[in-house]
Symmetry: C3
Subunit: 238 residues, 3 copies
């Protein structure tokens, strides 16, 4: 398979290192990118259009076809937008504990009220959000040991907030003739489960889709990259 | 244990081949049948009474006692009806991602509206329903590779629709003194999880029951027959 | 890690034997106690204050610090109360399929109506409740074989009822600066899942917490003590 992996908030393409190694050893082709606004290229005012365009440009520049396009977390919204411009290049869309946005809504519109307040109070004057380590460790890395959690945290960077508040024009996404999979790691603890679920909360918006369930949390690329790699193969294969 | 295995819609007794091998190797006794209306004996007008009678006849003809009677999917409704006539022959009822019908309702009355519409439009003039492979592959065989999904699909046949619309007289089922187990494969993707669940949606109607949870989807007899066999032993044992 | 393990209803400290062996072999320190009112010291009128005090006294008498305080089932309410007096001695609170009580409520106030009736009718004149083996076997030991279920049942004793009906003063629990984990065994079958969930039903009341999900049921100390031990380590570590 030919994977293009789109990271989530606070991450850049370095998060995929171990997953890439696993998938390549299994004979697959892997492409990654750092989204504009993430990693070293901090730019709080980056837009969703710019963000999604970077994915489209990668696929066009490398002349990729039959792509299994994977979005993680915030990356779900990005691959939805990119898919609208790339449908003919795609074999399948895969969402790993990722947002699936309804037409006209924003990423932040789905964040539970109890967390949105905390996010607001943590926002920097420059329009970015840095996760406190205590939250990252117990909510995103709940299935990892402390050393792994620290190493993953060292690879994060401030997340631009403005784009996640944009209402997204996803007209036509529901009708795109691209098969979809939702890879659901059911030990995810990002948001309170009584208020928010990746599956079925987010997944149900895909219409028909293949469900793949695996143990583990929100950052399997760090806590168990082989399990994530195996899950991506099950989610992405014909 | 002495198992009688009752298949679901679109299937016939060939679906149990690998599960039977596993259970027999473990020292258990296994009986299967093809329900009237399924397999080569297509008969769109077959009734639920005829269907359940076939299970009762098998058990009486072979003089089976202490039976662990297993129903898969649609087969749940069949074992409910059969149990009303067979209670003294049964050691335990086991439902594997199976319907548990309330008195006076039909199988189809539980199908989510979003899927019922698709089922209606796919119905043949002869009163049967053939699942499209794309649906079977991503919704029923979501945990299998393509080759396994194709091999399983080759063993399916059109499902008679009329019996699933019948209101069932299940008077006395709740009070039957037969222990019950629900074997729940939690990666099941047949119906949208936001609208329908096998557990707790269906299972809760059993009253007191033993819950057994395992990974995997709706067709473990094909995607992982050993895991299903182990689950049946845990569900069926004393 | 330094664990203090608080058992649930019907149990005493003997339930932890195999978990203790596992944890000690892994290099951890383990302390257990039999709560007043349980085990041989039957006392139907025992109060929650007396019960929680026993935990506090153990920790003070042995001069324990940096304690990972674990509560199972009913023991969740006990560790909540104990934590109010012990916060400075605690490294983390761990709840394993355990009650998390809201201020002013009782343990019994959370028991689903369908089960509360059965509990009431099973109560002895002396104010205790003995679980029937059939319920224990299929609802609490659903993931164990019969021999294991019988051996576990032989270690149970009548549970005093009065304390579980007490409204608890948990003022300040939400604000305690002690990290919390919820260890959720998702095959638990104690109460009907359509009416009651440990996670997210109980867990959500912890505020911020680390979620750890594992297969298995309500009595992993008997059905799979190593799995429980590993889960406790994941839940309790820094």
């Amino acid at each position: 398979m030919r994977f293009v992996l789109v990271h989530g908030s606070w991450h850049d393409e370095r998060c995929w290192k171990a997953v890439r190694t696993f998938l390549e050893c299994e004979g697959h082709e892997v492409h990654t990118l750092t989204l504009p606004g993430n990693g070293e290229r901090a730019k709080p005012s980056v837009t969703m259009a710019e963000t999604a365009r970077a994915v489209a440009e990668l696929i066009h520049a490398r002349e990729l076809r039959d792509v299994v396009l994977v979005g993680h977390s915030f990356g779900g919204a990005v691959v939805q937008l990119a898919a609208l411009k790339l449908a003919e290049r795609l074999k399948r869309l895969v969402f790993y504990n990722a947002y699936v946005i309804e037409n006209g809504r924003s990423v932040f519109s789905y964040v539970p009220a109890s967390v949105a307040g905390a996010f607001q109070s943590l926002a920097s004057p420059d329009g970015t959000l840095t996760l406190p380590f205590a939250f990252f460790r117990d909510h995103l890395m709940n299935d990892a040991d402390l050393e792994t959690a620290r190493a993953a945290y060292a690879l994060t960077s401030p997340e631009p907030l403005a784009r996640s508040a944009e209402s997204l024009d996803l007209t036509g996404f529901a009708e795109l003739p691209v098969p979809r999979s939702y890879l659901y790691a059911f030990g995810d603890n990002v948001f309170p489960a009584a208020e928010f679920t990746w599956h079925p909360g987010m997944s149900q918006r895909l219409g028909a889709f293949r469900l793949v369930t695996i143990p583990g949390g929100h950052e399997l690329m760090f806590s168990d990259p082989e399990a994530l790699g195996r899950g991506l193969v099950v989610a992405g294969r014909d």
